[in-house]
């Protein structure tokens, strides 16, 4: 049997070697199908990049996928300096960072206490977190809004950050669970023999051991928090605290007819995630697969 081609479509025992060309044809067809899907997935983004570098006249007169004669980077300069995009951008950065750090830290503490420590009610607490996976954000929106209103936290970044931490906790714990269950008991036993306290075991031994899964959960959280829309849209009203998703939405309202500016704004809002993906794609793929319970 020949195995030199990458696809090992089987040589049928009865038709045998004669089906070699069929095998190759099949291989080519599969490739065409996969490439077609890849092109469809990526084409809208290439178009976006292209019109972000054109002015309106070029957008409307040239073919959609034609390169601009000279890329108009000034679109980017304009939206970055003129409006509040840079402000929204940095709001997104710090809100995301704070939320991710606390979500991962709290989730690690909970997972450690549930999987490694012994106390009554562990399974009940775990159950509470896991049921949380199924609760739609929208059904909690009105009470959350009125709660934050009473606490004077509407139009305050804390309302958004606390919500991100609470709502991403279940999925984060879920990803961490399997990893924590797999940690060998001997590590803790040895540490206890040496007189370590629980805090020392957690912060000095277990937390460093879980660095890789922490990175995975951090990335998943980063993607969710960076892209979150409805909490910011509902709780935050002043420009000073808006994040990119909501900021972009309002900003585009001012530029309804300037496609280059709109394109540049959108590119700025998606670039950090795209760059993170280029650098960390393996871990992101792994994290999304691990967190697949959240749709």
């Amino acid at each position: 049997m020949k195995t030199d081609t990458a696809v090992r479509l089987p040589v049928h025992p009865e038709t045998g070697q004669g089906s070699e060309w069929l095998r190759r044809l099949g291989y080519v067809l599969l490739y065409v199908l996969l490439s077609l899907v890849a092109v469809l997935q990526i084409l809208p983004l290439i178009w976006l990049l292209l019109f972000s570098l054109k002015n309106n006249q070029e957008v409307f007169d040239m073919a959609p996928f034609a390169l601009p004669a000279t890329p108009r980077w000034e679109n980017y300069v304009k939206v970055w300096t003129e409006g509040n995009i840079s402000l929204y951008f940095f709001n997104s950065v710090w809100v995301t960072v704070v939320s991710v750090v606390f979500t991962v830290l709290f989730a690690s503490l909970v997972t450690f206490a549930i999987t490694r420590m012994r106390w009554k009610g562990r399974s009940l607490v775990l159950g509470l977190f896991m049921v949380g996976l199924m609760i739609p954000v929208h059904s909690t929106l009105i009470p959350l809004f009125s709660l934050f209103l009473k606490l004077h936290l509407t139009d305050h970044p804390l309302s958004v950050i606390l919500s991100y931490i609470a709502f991403n906790m279940p999925i984060t714990i879920m990803i961490l669970l399997g990893f924590y269950y797999a940690l060998p008991r001997e590590v803790e036993e040895a540490a206890v023999m040496d007189g370590c306290s629980v805090n020392r075991i957690f912060f000095r031994i277990v937390l460093p051991m879980t660095a890789s899964v922490i990175a995975t959960t951090a990335i998943i959280n980063m993607i969710y928090d960076w892209n979150e829309f409805i909490f910011v849209n509902t709780f935050i009203s002043s420009d000073a605290y808006k994040t990119l998703t909501v900021g972009v939405q309002n900003f585009i309202g001012q530029y309804t007819t300037d496609w280059g500016a709109i394109g540049a704004t959108l590119m700025i809002s998606i670039l950090p995630i795209l760059i993170a993906f280029l650098v960390l794609s393996e871990r992101i793929v792994e994290g999304i697969a691990a967190g697949s319970v959240k749709g």
Binding site: R8, P10, V37, F106, M134, G295
Partner: protein, 293 residues
């Protein structure tokens, strides 16, 4: 060992911050949503208890049922689209060179915010300057429709970006599951003379049934909660023809300031999500776990 690791004070300290956040920001609000549903309330002033009036109104509200209908259509489309994703994953998992690269390219739209995707597709669908109608005109359609302004088309037009956004996600899940199937099983079938179709449909698919069931739940429940993209692209329009349950709830509460009625819709949405999840799990429950050996 036991003494150190059963320190209840430390356990409590570790669990309480997260648990408090979960209770205060997730569990108490869902109870309150049901409670507010019993009130007449504009969100700011005093609440008046009106019993089940909001829920009775909900049942007779044809606009609500229209939005529920759209939600169910989206759920149906999403569930059906899984077939396509599954086929692509089957192809991709069949020892294709560069499978990893394809898988990653497919995933890119999933990483972007719904708002960015919505804004991008608004431009794609733009009646005169969008890339879609420019293309259609170029190949000879003289009067392509204004996709998002057409009540009979808008829901289908909205479904395309949804399909686009989630393709990589489901393909990734299926691909991971298919790659988990031991090579020896497929090899054995091959030696027994099974052709690629038989291997796909008789061996591979039955082995990943569990994963397929999970994705059906994900796709259906995900569609029930669908909001961001529709809110940005059409805001439920034109004339309610793309309104879904979540956007209807949002409109009632935060636009019409009818927080009582909005809460009733929100509570109904929660119940539907829980019931549908439970039903789908029940219907698709396997009698025995699948063993690879």
């Amino acid at each position: 060992m036991d003494k150190v690791m059963s320190n209840r004070l430390v356990a409590a300290l570790y669990v309480l911050p997260a648990l408090l956040l979960l209770l205060v920001l997730v569990y108490i609000p869902i109870v309150l949503t049901g409670y507010y549903g019993l009130m007449q309330w504009d969100g700011i002033g005093a609440m008046t208890f009106i019993g089940l009036d909001n829920y009775a109104r909900l049942i007779q509200d044809s606009t609500f049922w229209q939005s529920a209908n759209h939600t169910f259509l989206l759920a149906l489309f999403s569930a059906l689209s899984l077939i396509g994703y599954l086929m692509i994953a089957l192809v991709l998992s069949g020892k294709i060179k560069g499978a990893n690269v394809f898988r990653k390219i497919y995933l890119i739209p999933m990483l972007l915010s719904s708002v960015a995707i919505a804004q991008l597709w608004l431009k794609i669908y733009h009646p005169s300057n969008g890339v879609l109608n420019t293309f259609l005109e170029a190949i000879g359609f003289s009067n392509p429709p204004a996709w998002l302004a057409e009540p009979s088309l808008v829901l289908y037009a909205l479904f395309v970006p949804i399909l686009w956004q989630y393709a990589g996600f489901y393909i990734l899940i299926y691909y991971a599951a298919l790659k988990n199937i031991p090579e020896s099983l497929v090899e054995a079938a091959r030696i027994d003379g099974a052709n690629p179709w038989q291997i796909a449909f008789r061996i591979k698919l039955p082995l990943i049934t569990e994963v397929i069931k999970v994705t059906v739940v994900l796709a259906v429940v995900g569609s029930l909660k669908y909001f961001d993209l529709i809110y940005v692209m059409t805001d439920g329009g034109p004339n309610g023809s793309s309104e879904v349950m979540a956007s209807y709830m949002y409109r009632q509460a935060f636009r019409s300031f009818d927080f009582g009625y909005g809460s009733a819709v929100g509570f109904f949405l929660l119940l539907i999500c829980l019931v549908v999840t439970w039903l789908l799990r029940k219907v698709t429950a396997s009698k025995e776990p699948i063993q690879y050996s």
